[in-house]
């Protein structure tokens, strides 16, 4: 089937089977591999994107649903070489180890700051709760989000 998608403010065309998860379209058809595969069940948070500004697991949305929305992935978070403030804060705190979970976490953190410019620690943990970081650097990430909000 043929689909048109709005991703990172660009129009893309994709020829994929109906029902294909957005995650697979992004990674396998559009070359946007910055959104990571983690579980395929919407539990781990690695594949989060913004759909009409809402953070969602892209493994759980079909291309049909995605085609009606404006999608933002990690590749679209910065504008050109200008990093988003959450990206800068993660660099400044070295809030990462292997980095695999970071794309999804940055997406949710950016969405949180749009809605709540000065989140409390509780609000940060609440907003990031769908994301697992197995390297275990939650504390650094919380610190980085606070820095981005400052």
């Amino acid at each position: 089937m043929h689909y048109r998608l709005n991703v990172n403010r660009h129009l893309y065309e994709a020829e994929v089977p109906s029902g294909t998860p957005l995650l697979s379209v992004l990674r396998d058809d559009l070359g946007l591999t910055g959104t990571r595969f983690g579980c395929g069940q919407g539990i781990c948070g690695a594949c989060y994107v913004l759909a009409d500004g809402q953070p969602v697991p892209s493994c759980m949305i079909s291309i049909e649903e995605a085609a009606e929305k404006s999608i933002l992935t990690i590749e679209g978070l910065s504008s050109g070489s200008d990093l988003h403030r959450v990206q800068r804060a993660f660099l400044e705190e070295d809030a990462m180890q292997c980095g695999y979970c970071i794309s999804g976490i940055l997406i949710s953190a950016a969405a949180l700051l749009m809605k709540t410019p000065k989140p409390s620690e509780e609000q940060i943990c609440q907003a990031l709760a769908p994301h697992f970081c197995r390297c275990g650097i939650y504390l650094r990430i919380i610190r980085a989000v606070k820095r981005a909000a400052a």
Partner: protein, 671 residues
């Protein structure tokens, strides 16, 4: 580990040209067979060389794990990258500096002792200079790297600031993990793994799978069955459509191994002579690595060679494994290391890569295999379980006079127990089974038995489980003999560096002064892990349902000379949080050889809601000691520190993990 003794690479001396190359534009290339998976060694190695050769980090390029160009290496595990390879890289850089200074002395007609280095140049006191690349020209730096440090250049203390060479690529999403590789003509593959390890196929009905859209090939190669399809979902659907009848393996394939790690002859007498005894049994269940990125690899098998785009902890081991399977020389197998999801030991087994090789060989096109989350839980090698029984006798002064430790676990490495070189079982399954204390007469017996599930290396190997048992028991001994836990430990500590981390962690946490109240507790534990000294204190709160919440953790580490302090702190913080997750939540439920909890819904790991919000990490100044590892040590004392805190908070001694409300409640009933 299994190939250490036999590999010729171990006997040859390290050569400079294999380690450091100065390119025409002045870039300094550093090569190591170790790999990066979040522990920060790329940054660490770059810093070492930048410091030793006085260049900026941007002028250093670190090549890791590319088998075609880096020196042979056994694998990246055991927190040895900085301790061992980092030391070689430092020696290589110092040797390169010496050669450059000698060459400059001739070119600048100035004695080498009057020269210094700065910004990639050798400079004289009167302002003349010559760049490294000019000094190298057409004559590369070569030679056997001398042992011992060359110390004619003062390296300043490392700057304590965040730094990670991959950071920009990570935050922009441009970092390329092996699952992100896309080759022309590439297909997606999946393999069928038996629900119980070692099972054989009795019947296979593949008709349903063949008929599905996108299926390119069904591959059967002896016991291996796989599918290749146009898209990943199609490959997964085809595997699920296969109708298979399995035959379970006849029983345990290997006999248990028993090894005495210590056996003092007077042990029975020492027990008889003592005034008090205590015996306790501890249990640590199987847990899963749960890398956020499941195993994934791309293989491109051609007529007489193969390219692998992978993330593995053992690039050379994989190369040899693939060469053997394909019947080609190892030099025809090219391992291209990509960014790697943290795997914490799981990356020693190249499951997805071997699946991909078999499938690519069959279809003669590049194939990407990405394990599903379910396969990761069901079929990957998990952490071995541990059953430990400890007995100790105290003399009339409350000192340990005799110690008997019987531990049963499984293989913590790959291969078969029978084929491992001597010493490997002791160093892996027996890691930290011998206590770090003076314990009088002792016997330490290790039994390595087959497990119901695949087992393998997991961060710190048997150290974290053994230290849980030993450090819990030390607290029990302190308690029955009416001694404060710190005092009791210190009375048995011989090593000054261990004493220092223990005393410091108690000062930092204000151990003696903190008010104690019911439902709230502090616990301590310590270890010497692979040369790194570490002590931790955990403060916990138990809620009305019996759940444990961690309020704060203090940790004091002596890891010798620090290369990158903030990187080391990051590792320790992460290890503490990960070990807290193992300890409070994790257990694979295994029934009849099958893992029952095969999703993140059923296998709980710590989330942001469980985040430890306060950590106080202190590195003791120890620049005069060689660097030791920091990747695993932080995880080692955590379980005992938490169990000891639970005891203080509730009066309940919990001797099995995880420390869930249910386990604690069961232990309370047994009390």
């Amino acid at each position: 580990m299994s190939t250490t003794a036999s590999h010729p690479g171990k006997e040859t001396l390290d050569r400079l040209e294999q380690r450091i190359v100065v390119e025409h534009d002045g870039t300094i290339v550093v090569r190591s067979g170790k790999v990066e998976y979040g522990q920060g060694i790329r940054t660490g190695f770059a810093k070492i060389v930048a410091d030793e050769l006085a260049v900026s980090l941007e002028n250093v390029r670190v090549e890791l794990g590319e088998t075609d160009c880096v020196p042979w290496d056994m694998g990246t595990f055991g927190s040895m990258s900085t301790a061992v390879d980092g030391a070689i890289v430092r020696a290589a850089a110092a040797f390169a500096r010496k050669i450059l200074l000698d060459r400059a002395a001739v070119r600048l007609e100035t004695p080498a002792l009057e020269l210094s280095i700065a910004n990639g140049k050798v400079v004289t006191s009167d302002g003349r200079s010559i760049s490294y690349q000019e000094l190298v020209g057409a004559e590369p730096l070569t030679g056997i790297i001398p042992e011992g440090e060359l110390t004619n250049h003062n390296v300043e203390s490392p700057q304590d600031a965040p730094l990670r060479l991959e950071a920009h690529a990570i935050v922009t999403g441009s970092a390329r993990y092996s699952g992100d590789i896309r080759l022309p003509g590439m297909l997606w593959g999946q393999a069928l793994h038996p629900p119980v390890q070692g099972s054989e196929i009795v019947t296979l009905d593949e008709h349903g799978a063949h008929a599905l859209p996108g299926v390119v090939a069904l591959v059967r190669d002896q016991d291996f069955i796989g599918v290749v399809a146009q898209r990943s979902q199609q490959a997964i659907a085809a595997i699920r459509a296969l109708q298979v009848e399995w035959k379970r393996p006849p029983g345990a394939s290997e006999m248990p191994f028993e090894i005495a790690l210590r056996s003092d002859s007077a042990i029975d007498m020492a027990f008889t002579a003592a005034s008090r005894y205590l015996t306790a049994e501890y249990h640590v269940p199987h847990i899963s690595h749960v890398p956020i990125g499941p195993s994934v690899a791309v293989a491109d098998v051609r007529e007489d060679e193969a390219h692998l785009y992978v993330s593995t902890q053992r690039p050379f081991g994989l190369r040899d494994q693939v060469a053997q399977l394909l019947g080609v020389s190892p030099s025809r197998v090219h391992i291209h290391m990509q960014m790697m999801s943290g795997t914490y030991g799981r990356g020693n087994m190249n499951d997805a890569a071997m699946d991909a090789v078999r499938l690519s060989r069959a279809v003669r096109r590049p194939v990407l295999v990405q394990w599903t989350r379910e396969e990761e839980f069901r079929s990957s090698p998990h952490r071995p379980m541990l059953d430990a029984r400890i007995s100790a006798a105290l003399n009339s002064e409350g000192m340990i006079a005799a110690w008997r430790y019987l531990t049963q676990t499984n293989l913590h490495t790959y291969g078969r127990a029978a084929s491992l070189p001597s010493g490997v079982l002791e160093a892996t399954s027996g890691r930290n089974a011998v206590p770090a204390y003076r314990v009088g007469c002792s016997e330490v017996l290790l039994r390595v038995a087959p497990a119901q599930v695949r087992t393998g290396a997991y961060r710190s190997l048997a150290a974290a489980p053994n230290v849980f048992a030993i450090e819990s028991f030390m607290d029990e001994l302190a308690h029955i003999s009416g001694q404060p836990p710190l005092t009791f430990r210190l009375r048995h500590v011989e090593d000054e560096r261990l004493r220092r981390v223990l005393c410091t962690v108690c000062e930092r946490s204000n151990w003696d002064q903190k008010p104690r109240q019911s439902g709230h507790g502090f616990g301590m534990a310590c270890a010497i892990y692979h040369g790194t000294y570490i002590a931790e204190v955990a403060e916990i709160e138990m809620d009305s349902t019996g759940q444990v919440h961690i309020e704060q953790v203090w940790c004091v580490v002596d890891a010798g000379r620090l290369v990158h302090p903030d990187g080391a702190r990051n590792q320790i913080e992460g290890a503490i949080q990960q070990a807290a997750s193992w300890t409070l939540f994790e257990e694979l439920r295994i029934a009849d050889g099958r893992v029952a909890n095969i999703s993140l819904k059923d296998y709980r790991i710590a989330s942001f809601r469980d985040a430890i919000r306060q950590m106080d990490i202190t590195f003791l100044p120890a620049q005069k000691f060689p660097s030791t590892g920091i990747g695993e040590a932080g995880s080692v004392p955590m379980a005992a520190a938490l169990a000891n805190a639970v005891f203080e908070a509730s009066g309940v001694r919990v001797r099995r993990l995880p420390l869930t409300a249910a386990t604690i409640s069961a232990a309370r009933i047994l009390k």
